[in-house]
């Protein structure tokens, strides 16, 4: 069993993703704000972080950069519905 942090500003996405992880037998923690997610990742142990890219206030990529700078090595998976330039 792994501990997963799901970060997304959309409540439906957050809820459905968290449910999917739980159904697969993992522990899922949800967070709808990148700034708060950084605090969580720094203070608690997560096996993996699943994050949206486009979010108001701080976006997923900024969060990723900040965490890596702080020396956090937790794997982080970026999920985006939005087509990023150059990367689908």
């Amino acid at each position: 069993m792994s501990r997963v942090l799901v970060v997304d500003d959309d409540a439906s996405t957050l809820a459905s993703l968290a449910r999917a992880f739980r159904l697969a037998g993992h522990e899922a923690v949800v967070c709808d704000d990148a700034t708060r997610a950084i605090v969580l990742v720094k203070n608690e142990r997560f096996d993996i972080v699943i994050s949206d890219v486009v979010m108001p206030r701080k976006d997923g990529l900024a969060m990723l950069a900040e965490l890596r700078e702080a020396g956090v090595t937790t794997p982080i998976v970026m999920v985006s519905g939005q087509a990023t330039r150059g990367v689908e």
């Binding site: 959309d10 439906s12 996405t13 809820a15 159904l23 087509a83």
Partner: protein, 605 residues
């Protein structure tokens, strides 16, 4: 300056310059020919004068020879030589002079005393002024001032000797005066005057002409004075009331080289003046005629050139006004202008072609963008719905209670997703249905006030960012041809954008102004501003910087403004805020088109 005016000025200038040049050249050459002719005539007259002078001198010499050879004089000379009393011969000179037609005659003794004087008998016994025995050595005639009882006269005289040592000297001659001048043959337009230089000061009395006295001719005095002083020839043109006259003054010397007389040869320049006047007037006449012809000609040429150009300009204005389907059949041209017209027609056709292709390309691009945006908007709610369905599927194996929990949660998620999809579709549907504006007389100030009022509740709600709203309305902005509802919607979009740009609060200002027959509306915020890239893509439909938004807000604003014949622009400084500026023509879209046509190139301003 139009081509017509310029052509006219050019032709007039060319004609005027040519006529002036020709007139000046002809006048100058006429003057030169006249001067040459005049010099010839003057030289001929002077030569005639000298010939007459010589002939007269020869006459004087001949007559004195006769007197000297006459018996009476020879006898008198012998008597005087033999010491007879000279008083006995005091009356001898008179009859002798009369007989030979001389004006002056003196019989002078060998010692220089006058024995008898024809012109002044009382001078008997006086010493003779200019004739001595020594002077008689020369038989040459010369000019001499001769003293008379009342006056002095100018005479052409000679001296002869009669008998040997102690004999007589005969001195005599003729006056040089009017009669002498009358003997000269004068060409028409010429006259001759003689100034007798026998007084210390210049005196008009001494100026004689062939016709009468010339005492009025005081204008000649400076010329005479000059010749008197320098002893050389001089020429001067004198303006008389009846026309100019060229006067050549030639000095005549006496025996000792002194200037005793000044011969004045006058040649009237009245004819020359008349000729020059005639030339000048013909110049003026030809000039006027030339300019008149030139004006007519240049008008015709200009009309031929400018009419098609003006017609072309009119057609160009029509095209600029948006009327693309133009024909140039009515523009009658030939040569280069026909080429121009043809080129213009080709250009218009190509422009129409190009524009159609551009419109098509834009339409395709817009459709593509719409489809992309729509897909994205639809994909967002679909993602959680899809996962939820998977979850439900997986949850079927769970115990009843747990399945119920997942099932309820999934229903909520699916319902929310469907609602979101509906909203997205509704917004796109609204945009596609946006109708053409219905134009009425509306008040921009009222529209602004109403639009701002709609946001009051939202702004004053507890927990909302603190945004201060300032309305700066121009009292004149109360009249505009427009669609109040659409303008209101556009303003609401701008206000919403401004509020969204200031999540931490700030200043929202709405300003109206009337400038140059247009209402200007400005919505500005003190938010974080836009980056260069954001600003350039701002009005692209379906572009958004916001997480939740269709990207249609500003596209709607732009569509409304364009439908009203207006313009929209944005000013933004990152970190300082953004201002959207709408410019709406007071008369509505039709007046905007008219104004654009007026501003078209080539149209008079």
């Amino acid at each position: 300056m139009s081509l017509r005016t310029r052509l006219l000025a050019l032709v007039s200038a060319v004609v005027a310059i040519t006529v002036v040049l020709v007139t000046v050249t002809v006048s100058a050459s006429a003057r030169r020919s006249f001067a040459a002719l005049d010099a010839q005539r003057t030289a001929a007259l002077v030569a005639q004068f000298r010939r007459e002078f010589t002939l007269e001198g020869q006459q004087v010499g001949l007559r004195l020879d006769r007197i000297a050879a006459s018996d009476a004089v020879v006898r008198t000379a012998a008597d005087i030589a033999s010491r007879h009393d000279p008083a006995a011969y005091v009356n001898d000179a008179g009859p002798l002079a009369t007989a030979q037609g001389l004006d002056f005659l003196d019989l002078v003794s060998n010692d220089g005393r006058i024995v008898s004087s024809a012109h002044w008998p009382a001078k008997f016994g006086y010493r003779h002024a200019w004739a001595t025995a020594a002077d008689a050595a020369s038989t040459r005639e010369f000019l001499q001032v001769v003293e008379l009882p009342q006056e002095a006269a100018l005479g052409l005289v000679a001296i002869r000797r009669v008998g040997g040592e102690g004999g007589l000297v005969v001195a005599g001659g003729r006056r040089l005066d009017r009669q002498f001048l009358q003997s000269l043959v004068l060409p028409p337009g010429m006259r001759v005057l003689l100034y007798r230089n026998i007084e210390p000061e210049i005196s008009r009395r001494q100026l004689v002409t062939a016709s009468g006295d010339a005492s009025q001719e005081s204008a000649l005095e400076p010329l005479i004075a000059r010749v008197r002083q320098t002893g050389t020839e001089a020429t001067e043109v004198i303006d008389w009331p009846d026309g100019p006259e060229r006067i050549s003054a030639i000095p005549i010397d006496g025996r000792d080289g002194r200037v005793l007389g000044v011969l004045l040869v006058g040649s009237s320049e009245r004819e020359l003046a008349a000729l020059v006047r005639r030339i000048r007037w013909s110049g003026v006449g030809f000039g006027a005629l030339g300019i008149m012809l030139g004006v007519g000609l240049s008008y015709m040429v200009a009309a031929r050139v400018t009419r098609p150009v003006e017609q072309l300009a009119g057609v160009a204005r029509t095209v600029a006004g948006g009327e693309w389907d133009v024909r140039l059949d009515h523009v009658r041209t030939s040569g280069e202008l026909a080429d121009l017209a043809a080129a213009f027609e080709t250009m218009t056709r190509q422009l129409v072609d190009h524009r159609e292709r551009l419109v098509q390309a834009e339409r395709v691009a817009a459709w593509r963008e719409l489809a992309r945006r729509l897909a994205h908007e639809l994909k967002n709610p679909l993602f959680p719905m899809r996962i939820t369905l998977d979850n439900l599927h997986r949850a079927t194996s769970l115990p009843e209670a747990e399945f119920k929990e997942v099932f309820d949660e999934s229903l909520t998620t699916l319902a929310t997703g469907l609602t979101n999809l509906n909203t997205v579709i509704g917004r796109f549907s609204d945009f596609s249905r946006m109708p053409m504006p219905v134009l009425e007389d509306v008040s921009p100030n009222a529209i602004v006030t109403q639009a701002v009022a709609l946001f009051r509740a939202q702004l004053e709600a507890p927990g909302a960012p603190s945004i201060r709203v300032t309305l700066d309305l121009d009292p004149a902005a109360v009249n505009l041809r427009g669609d109040a509802e659409q303008l209101g919607r556009a303003l609401q979009n701008l206000l919403l954008n401004a509020i969204d740009a200031m999540p931490a609060g700030g200043e929202l200002t709405v300003r109206t102004r009337v400038i140059d027959r247009a209402v200007h509306v400005e919505v500005s915020d003190s938010g974080q501003g836009l980056t260069e890239e954001e600003r350039s893509r701002l009005f692209t439909p379906y572009y958004t910087t916001k997480q939740h938004g269709t990207g249609l807000g500003l596209a709607i604003v732009q569509s409304v403004v364009t439908d009203h014949g207006g313009r929209i622009r944005v000013e933004s400084t990152p970190g300082r805020g953004t201002a959207f500026h709408l410019e709406l023509p007071i008369g509505g879209p039709a007046s905007a088109l008219a104004q654009a046509n007026q501003r078209a190139p080539g149209a008079p301003r």
